[in-house]
């Protein structure tokens, strides 16, 4: 079985795809099992509940069952992540390790010239 972390991501995908609409656990499980998987209702319920306690989802009672919906849009989360990744917001906690920063145009041009004069790498050594 795939780890729970993956299932959390799958459930978020289903609920984001539903737009602002709320879904019951049954509907979520059906959507997940549509692509040939066989997830137990209780598994989906456990993981969905965990997402709610983590603050990703909210639920309202309707009749005898709960309906779940997202609290924030997918764009909200990716915007926050990309802001930190691109350093337009300060990553105070240091949660990410980025590959590159930014160079100003003049410096980039000087480095580009220096790089052009550098001989090509020798063939890989393995």
């Amino acid at each position: 079985m795939r780890p729970f972390g993956e299932l959390e991501a799958d459930i978020m995908r289903v609920l984001w795809a539903a737009g602002g609409k709320s879904l019951t656990i049954h509907e979520v499980a059906d959507a997940l099992n549509g692509d040939g998987r066989d997830l137990a209702y209780t598994t989906v319920m456990t993981v969905t509940e965990r997402l709610r306690t983590k603050g990703w989802l909210e639920r309202v009672k309707q009749g005898r069952s709960f309906r779940y919906s997202v609290l924030r849009s997918a764009d909200d989360y990716s915007a926050e992540l990309m802001e930190q990744a691109l350093e337009s917001s300060v990553d105070r906690a240091g949660a990410l390790l980025r590959f590159a920063g930014r160079l100003d145009a003049a410096e980039a041009e000087a480095l580009r010239r220096a790089l052009a004069e550098t001989p090509a790498d020798p063939a890989p050594e393995d």
Partner: protein, 322 residues
Amino acid sequence: MSVIVALLAYAFLLGGPLARRLAGARWVSRAPRTALRLWHAYALGLLASLTAALVLTAHDFWEHGVVWLFHAAKPRVHAAYGGAWQVRGLADAALLLLFLGAASLSVTAVRRSMRVRQERDRHRLTADAQGARDGAGEDPSVRVLTHAAPAAFCIPGGGSRSRIVVTTAARELLSPAQYAATLDHERAHLRMGHHRAILAAEVLTAALGWAGLLRPYAGQVRRLAEMAADDHAARKHGRRTVASALLEMCSVPNRAEPPRALAMTGPDAAERIRRLISSTAAATAPLMRVLTWALTAATIALPLALALGPALLLANTAHLGG
């Protein structure tokens, strides 16, 4: 008494002039991993000497320990460590300071790591839910996120919980070789546990920075970690490839950047590119390696030797009595 002065002097020497010197040294860019190790040794040596100085000041506590541990004669121990000026109040104050310091350091460490963990959990779920797996690569931890700005970064986490994230723009921008080198740079970060080193350095810098001690520590660990990861990627993909990948990623003109952020990261990226193309990766000479290891060990051992020296000289003197 003189031991305490020596320990404090050593702590301020390490945290002040020696730290500034190491931060400005030119050899560190040739041997970033050695420099990283030395920085951690400085930090440990500093912590050890501050701790020892406080324990010695609280010398009631210390004397009992030495009498018990080394089976030494109490009056002689007292003569070796004690001084007439020492009053009980000072000893108690030092002990209190020691416990307060240890407590605040652990509180800072726990709070920071919890905050980082929460943030990483959120980022991981976002990347998993919105990113696609990298079809071409075999690495299951890579996620490709649809975004117009080129970016590559990693979200550290234990074992299979870590993720390497690249944007679609970065994949289009980089050649296959550059792309592979970028992924290996991120893998190197994860393998060498740089996120832990950075966290530890930040906790310590936050805890000691007010006293002007070890101020460059966190910044230098970040800088050297990037160089070490560059070197790792360059061993497999070539220095020029890594340099060109960096240059491509850095020089894309994009969104209005807050100028402060640019000033913070600009020089580092330029420095990394320069060192990649200007130097060939020379293996450290064996003698140099022995010397740097010895220096690293001595940095940590010195405060312990200072603190324990008098006690060791008195070992097995208990039977001589007063």
